[in-house]
Amino acid sequence: MWKTYVNTKTLLPLFLLNLAVCGQGYTPSRSSSNNVPDNGVSAPSSSQFESNTFQQTANKIFDPSSDSMDFESGSYQWKGGTFNLSNQRAFRARFERFLLGAPAPNSTQYTALMQEITDLLSIGTDSSDATIKQAWQLLFEASEFEQDGGNSTIVANQVFNAWRIRQESRGLSLSQKAQANIRADQQEVIANRSRTLRRLQERQEAENVQAESSKSTVARSDSNSEMSYKIQDLLETEATIARLQAQSAVTGMQAMLQFQSQIVTFLMQRRFQHAQLLSNFYQLIFKGGSQKLEVGDAELMKFLPNTDLTFTVDTLSFMSREAVNDVTAGVDAILAADSEGRRLLALERVQETFFLGEHLSALDRISVEQRRVFLDLYRTMLEAQELADAKDFQGVSQVVAELALLADDFPVGRVQSAVDSAMSMSDMAVFAATQYRNSGQLDETREELMRAIEIWPSNPSITDFQRETTRLTSANSKGVSFFDDLFERSDRRGIYQRRMELGFALADDAPRKESLMNVIDQVARLDLLIAQAKELTQQGESFAAWELLEAAREIDEDDAPMNRARADLAPRVAGFIGYVDRAVQSAASADYAAALTSYLWAQDIYPASRTCRIGIDAMSESLMSSLMSAAEESYDD
């Protein structure tokens, strides 16, 4: 297309055609910067519009995503919390899979079972070991359901692990107790030995027998060595007790951390029911002092960035319960909106609710039929979005009609209005490009055409523009002889009707170009005068209309449309015409006085007559001239 346009370059200096264009009130508004005269008539220019208006509207209306979803940042906002949304494509795939799927057949039983486990673990019920064990056993039943995804088993494993660790902890406690007993015995032995040694020393000092002293020293030395062995045993026992205490503490902490970590994981994965169950187990297994979260701070701070709360297991339990309740309320809203025909609204809520409660059985309340309708709506909106991105406005209009059938609350009018505006803008740009082409303004033509393409690439007017430009180019070769023929026959109308082709053909022929310009100017003025006369006739101003037709006759007395208009009007102004005709005839035969009299009498009929005013002035001057001549002759005589 562009090639064709560039080929017209040699034909473009056809500024003469601009006159004809201007005569009809058409000229591009930006002609003032060029040599083309600006008649003060502006053609619309698409630069007055924002070309992205439609795009903005389309992006807003055709985006099926909920406002709480931000695919750019990959996040989903929920009650101040931020879930990682992954990317749009992945979410769309999961969402479409949900809409294509059907509710699980045993959803009701699963829901009831999970509720039963939750009830068993609630504070209001008996929190004995037997109850907890009963709840724990039910977890294995729950894990057999497909929708559970085996997560109940993870919960059960965590609980079992905690129990096992607690059991180990009890064993360690027993060992610690035994070691403590040994330590007590050892301490007693050491104390006795020490006491005995002191007594022996005191006795020896009292007897003061120097000779036997060496023998006693040997005996005391033996006693000291034995005690040191006993002390060593005691220290070993102390070390064993310390090791057992440390091991017990580590084991307990390990169990707690594993539990907390799994709760945070469930929450982040939006497995709210399991997070809630695990929280309940935790609260029953671990003592009150262990409720503060020791792990997952970083993850939770990402989730709740604007809080300085100290996270506890209770916090996680509360959040999980809120999410479950929110999903239930969301499904209620979806069903209500759908029943009222507000499917667009329902679709937005479906997305939010699906993302939050993807793993909750509450979504199974949305039937297969409803899911299919939502899928159709979702896919159609995505298609509309793609068409809008491709600026295929005709396609958008068709899809919008389908959307109107799918969702009563779809804003058809708004979209159609935006589509119509965009199409009009493009059409106007093509129109402006046409005018610029006709007036030989190459740069402006290119600019307007590019704007038209940018707004609406598939605009049929652009193709028409191309075709017309090609046709004008091909008319070049035979245009000269054709013009000569018409001009010789004074067929002004014929020339005017083919002015575009002839303009291109005579672009490099200065004399003919000037003649063409004159003819176009004359016919344009003729048309203008005839049109004005018609308007005046309709307003009852017959004499004024006649005056205009008189002016038109001065341009071309053989013009058929003008003569038809005169013939139509003549009966209404017969008297006036009679005097004017007589004046013209008298003037022609140099009877100026008679002509002047006739003009005066015609002026009496239509005082505002321009013809009469001019005729009177002319005849007066002629008369006076003839009188002067006569006076000069008599003076000469």
Binding site: D591, Y592, A594, T597, L623, L627
Partner: protein
Amino acid sequence: MRTPSIIKEGSAKLILIAVCSLLLLLGLLSLMIGDEYSNLDSFPASDFAVSPAGFLGNEYVLHAQIDTQLQWQPGIGRLVVVKTEKTGIRLPVFIAERIEQNVHSGQRYEMYIQIQAGGLIHVEDLRKY
């Protein structure tokens, strides 16, 4: 005593007869000489418009009001449009320079006119009325 009175009465009668005769003579002279316009026909404006050539050389009296002045040429005269008294028809007339009278729009004149070459109405004389 009676004689002088008789003589006076006779003289008065003679004087009265002489005055009456003089007045009669003056009346007769006036009729014989006549008003310059009185012998002229009124100008047939409507007929003139149809065929001015048939009126060439004729003299008429025209009662008209000055409508507008079209032309003035020093040494020649002025071309004026007048509106006839009876018909209201507008006509162009030429007032030669020799007629030294100011004419203004709206003034009414009795004009002594003559139709000259080309059908132009020449004003030979005019007077207000």
